[in-house]
């Protein structure tokens, strides 16, 4: 699933490890989500959106929207 995680992270000057620490997950998880290799569970997706104070659809791109 496409997402804006890399950009959002860069805006805040956070490394993948910084984001991982804030989410209490591994850096591998952040990397896998960021590169679209892993779709997070709904609770984790909400945690990510809440961390950036954004609605979930502004962090993750709906697969149906990308065609």
């Amino acid at each position: 699933m496409n997402n804006h995680l890399r950009g959002l992270r860069a805006e805040r000057g956070w490394s993948q490890q910084d984001l991982a620490d804030r989410l209490e997950v591994s850096r591998q998880s952040v990397n896998a989500i960021e590169t679209g290799r892993y779709d997070p569970s709904l609770p984790l997706a909400f945690r990510i959106a809440e961390l950036f104070s954004l609605p979930i659809e502004q962090v993750f791109v709906s697969p149906s929207a990308t065609g």
Binding site: E24, S26, Q28, S29, A32, R37
Partner: protein, 134 residues
């Protein structure tokens, strides 16, 4: 590479279980290969080295329960499935070949070793396939 708290606990348990395995295996081989023990005691000594190996399976299950990182848990689950598939496939093929007397007999505990080795292969293939799907 940083280990998650659950991975650290698993590593610690696996280390202690490996030490216990060696500590129990050596006297068992020494005593039983020389027929120095008989009766029920022989069974107790004979089964002792198997218990830390069984403990590794328990530790692996506990890791999956304790791992709070869903991505790491998924990767480990995949590795376990690959290891199980490898071990069961090898067991089945070898079992038939052995039944037809085309290959020598292997002690059954070898399949636990194959499964543990399969975990390494599973972890490697999961990493490669995860990278390819990016």
């Amino acid at each position: 590479m940083r280990f998650s708290p659950a991975q650290q606990r698993y590593n610690r348990r696996a280390l202690w279980l490996s030490i216990a395995y060696m500590a129990l295996l050596l006297p068992a081989v020494y005593l039983l290969s020389r027929h120095m023990v008989g009766g029920p005691a022989a069974y107790v000594i004979g089964v002792a080295p198997a218990l830390p190996i069984c403990g590794l399976f328990w530790a692996m299950g506990l890791y999956l329960v304790e791992e709070s990182d869903e991505y790491l848990r998924m990767m480990q689950t995949r590795a376990l499935l690959v290891a199980t598939a490898i071990a069961l496939t090898a067991t089945t093929i070898w079992g038939f070949l052995e039944g037809f007397e085309l290959v020598p007999h292997l002690p059954a505990y070898i399949w636990s070793v194959v499964w543990i080795g399969g975990l390494g292969i599973g972890a490697g293939t999961c990493r490669i396939t995860a990278r390819r799907s990016a």
